[in-house]
């Protein structure tokens, strides 16, 4: 290994270095996180997502005003010290609304992964491991779901569930199932021929143990990359759907609703009204894509030890 862990001068104290090395050897999660944190793109992603995560978790404490708090005499003000992002058409502080909007974006993004990834991966692993008719049935279903491109699946499910933030998260979670199922199946087909699976089977491990303890660890990186990319898609889809009036309803603050409210004011020169939600959205999306890149760089065997 060209880059022996421990020689890197990130940590001054030798005992801390030793502890980090030990953790990296014990846990693949920690090792991937460590490598991502050493990539430049990974660092940018972690900083942005960290800030946004804090905003989302503590929106009520961080935001200077409430998301629906109408201030006296503050209609459509351009950015200033008291309102860094300006105010909107009904005198609400835009910085506060965007902070609460980030909360909705991340909630939908994380929620859709939390719903869709376990179900999709379970279906994919099962189909790939057992093959035969299990695989045939599962793949037909997955291909059928994937025949509805992009946001169309979401429109079908939202017609049934009705509109709202929670409904959007569930909808996008359902949309994630075929994506993860297909990826996990492909991974399983590759991995199950490997010697270590044969070895585990020889030692008497059953399918559940082989999948949970052996294969899942080895197929983790592509699934994590897909999770970051799907989360970016979910954030876009949430913004689109609430922009169209199919997500959260007023007066909730979401990026899509702010953009929708801002659109008529473009002609009045209210540039901050449109630019600030776009900037927040763009930062979030670029961070998620960088995170995916960094995980790939950190886990790909070709570039890993450079």
């Amino acid at each position: 290994m060209a880059n022996t862990p421990g020689q890197v001068g990130v940590f001054r104290s030798a005992s801390l270095r030793a502890r980090v090395l030990e953790l990296r050897q014990q846990s693949q999660w920690f090792d991937v996180a460590y490598r991502v944190a050493r990539e430049r793109r990974g660092q940018i992603a972690l900083v942005i997502l960290g800030v946004f995560l804090v905003c989302a978790l503590f929106a009520g404490q961080i935001a200077p005003y409430g998301y629906d708090e109408q201030l006296r005499g503050a209609k459509l003000l351009s950015p200033s010290w008291s309102h860094p992002f300006g105010t909107d058409e009904i005198s609400r502080d835009l910085l506060s609304r965007i902070i609460f909007g980030i909360r909705v974006s991340l909630f939908v993004g994380a929620g859709s992964i939390a719903i869709g990834m376990p179900i999709g991966v379970a279906i994919g692993y099962t189909a790939g491991y057992f093959g035969n008719w299990t695989d045939a049935v599962a793949m037909r279903l997955i291909d059928t779901m994937l025949a509805f491109p992009g946001i169309l699946t979401a429109l079908v499910v939202l017609a049934v569930l009705g509109t709202g933030t929670r409904e959007v998260a569930i909808t996008l979670g359902i949309g994630a199932v075929p994506v993860f199922a297909r990826l996990a199946r492909g991974q399983m087909l590759q991995e199950k021929e490997r010697d270590y699976v044969m070895a585990a089977r020889t030692l008497g491990a059953g399918p559940v143990r082989i999948i949970m303890r052996h294969v899942s660890i080895n197929t983790l990186p592509p699934l994590m990359i897909q999770a970051a990319l799907y989360m970016a898609f979910a954030v876009i889809a949430e913004a689109s759907l609430s922009f169209l009036g199919l997500g959260a309803s007023r007066p909730t603050a979401t990026i899509g609703l702010i953009l929708n409210a801002a659109r008529p004011f473009l002609t009045l020169g209210a540039w901050w009204f449109i630019l600030t939600p776009i900037a927040a959205l763009a930062l979030m999306l670029i961070a998620l894509n960088f995170l995916a890149d960094a995980i790939l760089e950190a886990t790909s065997p070709y570039v890993r030890n450079k």
């Binding site: 049934v160 970016a232 473009l266």
Partner: protein, 314 residues
């Protein structure tokens, strides 16, 4: 080639039929009585019963599906529950503006994305490569409907070059029609253009590293002929598949962009259907969209098979 074609065609038909089953039965989970939507809340019980009977809603669900499918094959998707007319009429009216936008957006993506990818791939690290990377980054952070808003702001509001929203038919006034089409076209096509640029770039870089390209250089061919005859032809074959797969995403993206630019078409119709929970309308439109998507993918597979003999043999 014949058996490959038939196999691919059969797969496509199975996917469309399964998708129609999926949409039909999922739509039936929508709470509420469509007959009530159609006659209004102040109708008498007899009136409602009459409408239910006329729409065939009293028959078993499976029977309803086959009735609907039999109609759909003939282009009859039944009445819309909210718009007071046949779904097929609504779609016929919406088809022209939507098809116009989708085709224009796709042509933009091909005409912009592929040359950009070629320039970037031939000279990695050069100015073309930087332009391609910058463009890709931009589209990653700016989804299509947001790009639409930015375009309106810059090109229509600040510079005043183009009309803000709406549509004029090409048959009415071609020049005006194009003015209205430019911004939505870019908004719809930019994402696809970026995907194509990135893919073409990677494909060209990989191809130019192949042994046969080295051989072509070694035997003293001019660089131009190496790149064009040996490199480009092989590099662009896999682009067919990627370009075709993008069409589905382009169409689903157009749904939102149409609303941003207040253009009539499938987008506003479909979203109206979702808001009004008009399942007859939604299921008709989705089956048509899925069919388009599957047909395009099938054609792409066939074209790929024609372009690369190795595929159809396997």
């Amino acid at each position: 080639m014949g058996s490959f074609l038939i196999r691919r065609l059969a797969q496509g038909i199975v996917t469309v039929v399964l998708a129609s089953i999926l949409v039909f039965f999922v739509m039936r989970l929508i709470p509420g009585d469509p007959a009530l939507l159609l006659v209004g809340t102040d109708a008498s019980a007899e009136d409602i019963e009459q409408v239910r009977e006329r729409l065939g809603l009293n028959e078993p669900l499976v029977q309803q599906y086959f009735n609907w499918l039999a109609g759909a094959v003939r282009g009859d998707f039944g009445p819309s529950f909210t718009k007071g007319t046949e779904v097929s009429n609504l779609m016929r009216v919406a088809l022209v503006p939507s098809a116009e936008l989708a085709v224009a957006g796709y042509l933009f993506a091909l005409a912009f994305g592929i040359p950009l990818g070629i320039v970037a791939g031939l000279k990695p690290g050069g100015p073309g490569d930087y332009a391609a990377t910058g463009f890709t980054m931009f589209t990653l952070g700016i989804p299509n409907f947001v790009l639409g808003i930015i375009l309106i702001w810059v090109l229509a509001v600040l510079l005043g070059w183009l009309p803000i929203t709406g549509r004029v038919g090409i048959d009415e006034d071609p020049v005006e029609a194009l003015k209205f089409l430019v911004m939505p076209m870019i908004a719809v096509g930019a994402g696809t253009a970026a995907v194509l640029a990135r893919f073409v770039r990677a494909s060209i870089m990989e191809t130019l590293n192949q042994d046969y390209v080295r051989t072509a250089r070694a035997k003293g061919l001019r660089e131009r002929s190496v790149v064009m005859r040996h490199g480009m032809r092989n590099a662009l074959i896999p682009v067919i598949t990627v370009a075709a797969l993008q069409i589905g995403f382009l169409i689903s993206g157009a749904v939102i962009v149409e609303v941003v630019f207040a253009r009539p078409g499938f987008g506003s119709l479909l979203i109206g259907g979702v808001v009004g929970r008009d399942y007859q309308l939604i299921q008709g439109m989705l089956v048509v969209l899925v069919t388009v998507f599957v047909v395009v993918n099938t054609l792409a597979d066939v074209a790929y098979g024609l372009a690369d003999p190795r595929i159809r043999v396997g």
